[in-house]
Symmetry: C2
Subunit: 205 residues, 2 copies
């Protein structure tokens, strides 16, 4: 397995290369079955250098999760900013959630599979910092979508209901797709995105 | 921790007692942190006797998962059998999914947390048998809900769309509640059930 990124020499991009190699390995053979040494080999660095960036496989996994959560939060902000119609905001945000590269799709699936990791406190400081960051982002995303729904309620487009519970239901539905979607499955991601976007708009109405 | 069941002496109920003790422990301290010996102690049997029923902690966990899936499948059948109106069938089925005992709620949460276990083949024959049983039940449940949705489409109550994808989206939404619902949270399970049932009916329409 090789890393499919353009390699540059800055420390920042080495960190990104490690994350990409980890996503590819965790996504394909699973977190449990991935050896730390394989990631070092894929990136072409020694294990000591690897530990400089991530102190453990779990630390790396938590970083993948918070990175994916941050990407998702920012993407939703970006695609909805210029839209006024509340239903269209929801539709566009859901379509954007599925408009991802194959590696981002893997990353979303890894996030879904390891959500439990966000529940229990970590004994390592760096792992715990990353876990707190991820938990904060989960809350930010719930409130981001709750706001999209609430705006629609105030505008009279959606019926008034508990917007935070609705936001969690909507996100639960959207994220659940990553559990069963496979690139070689019966439906393209585009088809699933359209069906899900429609379902989310009806849910909010 | 003690087992909260009525103890009888038949082999069948001992198996049930082990499952209940395992649910309580997995639900409260987590699968990883539960010691096999604790379950034996809770039930009041030796570890050798415990191995007679379940050859591993994973075998026990897979059995909890397939038992919960079977309960859920049968419950949906039972509550929808006598209802004609398609939207009412969906509403009643969703409400029933949340009309659970505290232990069933734990069991549903355990099922959500360990779904990944259903993906990869097990090397042990008994574990693999139980995994296949659980996977079969997941498919059965998806088709059960797809049928509820398709009936509504044929009756003209719901718009025609891909009923299997809609069923998966609906189940993804319903099941996601077990990730964040806590008995001491801001909303009662009854309030969440009503909001979710409404959302599922709108999703299907």
């Amino acid at each position: 397995m090789t890393v499919e990124t353009t390699r540059t020499e800055s420390p920042r991009s080495k960190r990104r290369m490690i994350l990409d190699a980890a996503i590819d390995n965790f996504g394909k053979v699973g977190f449990e079955h991935t050896k730390w040494a394989t990631i070092a080999d894929d990136v072409g660095i020694g294990q000591t250098a690897l530990y400089h960036y991530f102190e453990s496989k779990v630390h790396c996994l938590l970083t993948i999760m918070s990175t994916e959560l941050e990407r998702s939060f920012e993407r939703t902000q970006a695609v909805t900013a210029e839209i006024d119609d509340p239903a269209e905001k929801i539709r566009v945000a859901v379509l954007a959630a599925f408009d991802v590269t194959p590696r981002e799709a893997l990353q979303a699936r890894i996030l879904m599979s390891h959500q439990d990791l966000l529940v229990g406190q970590r004994s390592s400081v760096r792992e715990e910092d990353e876990r707190q960051r991820a938990r904060g982002l989960v809350r930010d995303i719930e409130h981001e979508w709750a706001e999209l729904i609430r705006d629609g309620m105030f505008a009279g487009a959606f019926e008034r209901r508990d917007e935070l519970v609705l936001s969690r239901l909507l996100l639960g539905m959207v994220n659940s797709v990553w559990r069963w979607y496979r690139p070689d499955g019966a439906h393209t991601l585009e088809e699933i995105a359209q069906l899900t976007a429609g379902a989310c708009v009806r849910l909010a109405r």
